[in-house]
Symmetry: C2
Subunit: 300 residues, 2 copies
Amino acid sequence: MPVLVVGSIGLDHIKTQTEEHADLLGGSASFAAYAASFYAPVRLVGVVGHDFPEQHKTLLAGQKIDLAGLEVADGATFRWSGEYEADMNNRKTLSIALNVFEHFSPKIPASYRDTDFVLLANIAPSLQSKVLDQVAKPKFIVADTMDLWIEIARKDLLDLLKRIDMLILNDSEAKALTGETNVLKAGRKILSWGPKYVTIKKGEHGSILLSATETAVLPAFPLEEVFDPTGAGDCFAGALIGYCASKNDASFATLRAAIVHATLVASFNVESFSLRRLAKLDTAQIAERAAKFKQVAGLA
Amino acid sequence: MPVLVVGSIGLDHIKTQTEEHADLLGGSASFAAYAASFYAPVRLVGVVGHDFPEQHKTLLAGQKIDLAGLEVADGATFRWSGEYEADMNNRKTLSIALNVFEHFSPKIPASYRDTDFVLLANIAPSLQSKVLDQVAKPKFIVADTMDLWIEIARKDLLDLLKRIDMLILNDSEAKALTGETNVLKAGRKILSWGPKYVTIKKGEHGSILLSATETAVLPAFPLEEVFDPTGAGDCFAGALIGYCASKNDASFATLRAAIVHATLVASFNVESFSLRRLAKLDTAQIAERAAKFKQVAGLA
């Protein structure tokens, strides 16, 4: 089954302690769509400017990501610049230029409207809601979010929660959204606000999946080196929904397996800048790491 | 097989955001010995003063912990007072009175010297080494440590590492000891200094077990409430070695299973102050939580 991915597409400028790269393909939808494409056909919706490099479009199209929903607007592509500290869990935004993204309103092509698996990658919750206004009756709707929207668009986010099946966010965001200090309590409070499932990401410490009656906890794939964590969360969300679409199912058991794959694809993504590692990834490599992960984590 | 546990025994005064308790049974050896006793006979070595409450001795003896090595010295029992913040990962020490512990030098009774499974619970590494001077030829020696010894007794700790089979420490301690920011790299560096295994505890995020050739990662048992984290790490170490002693084995496969039990016993311990929860614990409750953990963590 195909997956509809809506989110940001941008050009990143990233500094780590050892490297610096400009004009990288970035944005929540780029990472999520690419990650999902290992599992299912992807329909992408987003906006870029006329300056968007052809090579980035080629990379996405090469992965058989449908670009009919990629709007090219007058102006420059969204740009983000950030710098990571030695502890890669900490980063600061150096600059943001919204450019064409400032007036973006997602337009879902008619050919996409019957998509059953919808990922609202990280963008403003009001835009995420606009996507839902335009789709027929999806079987499974997942939304990702970030601290910014919890701070400045809390009401929009709470409204969105009533319309989705799963919210994905990280542990500090779950605590900020709910005011709880315990992640499980935070997760349960989020469930009480609407979604059937919540996935709480804890970076290198793994993730937690909750429904009203079930709990799954999973460690991260252990890595000795992280080169660029940008987009890891987006890849996690993309692989998660891609896996569900490949099974045409969103039961708790399928979601548990999906989170294993989300963890794996995210673990590959941090091994290089932008989508460079995923661009070299194939299903054999995923299967090999899945076997290793199963062994290391002692999974059934 | 019996386990020898050597460490501190003290009286704790603990404040959380909601409760305050005085004269609690505390100390690394108390928690570790009690946790180990669910799996194997325990031989305890430590020191208390004449003020040590009879009820605490009764509690330990009731669990069939051999107290022949419990020295009663002239003076007062070691006392520690601490306060937890709302986020229980953060605590501050309000006061410490070493008392009889100041001049403690562990004396291993003759009847204990042939013990095959030895846990050097958290005390100064120079004292941990003195224990090893007095035992015959243990099959498996585990040492626990803490940030204080890394700061003030680094050389003693590095000397100890050459004489033990496993070091247990938490992630921030592993980073502090090695200067590495990645826990896996920190663990590998510790292995290069002597021990065959290292276990890195990450509190609510689980733990990592490393040997030169194998890696195991495990989440923590998810809990919505933590009442008092004091002693959780000591219980983890105690249950770990107790489980190994019960199997008379310290292979990687046994250690992986031991860490599951270490995680479970630690998860019970934080449910109440001091040893109050473990005092009500039985093997049926451990088995029930083991089944739940297996399901939640998707373990084989």
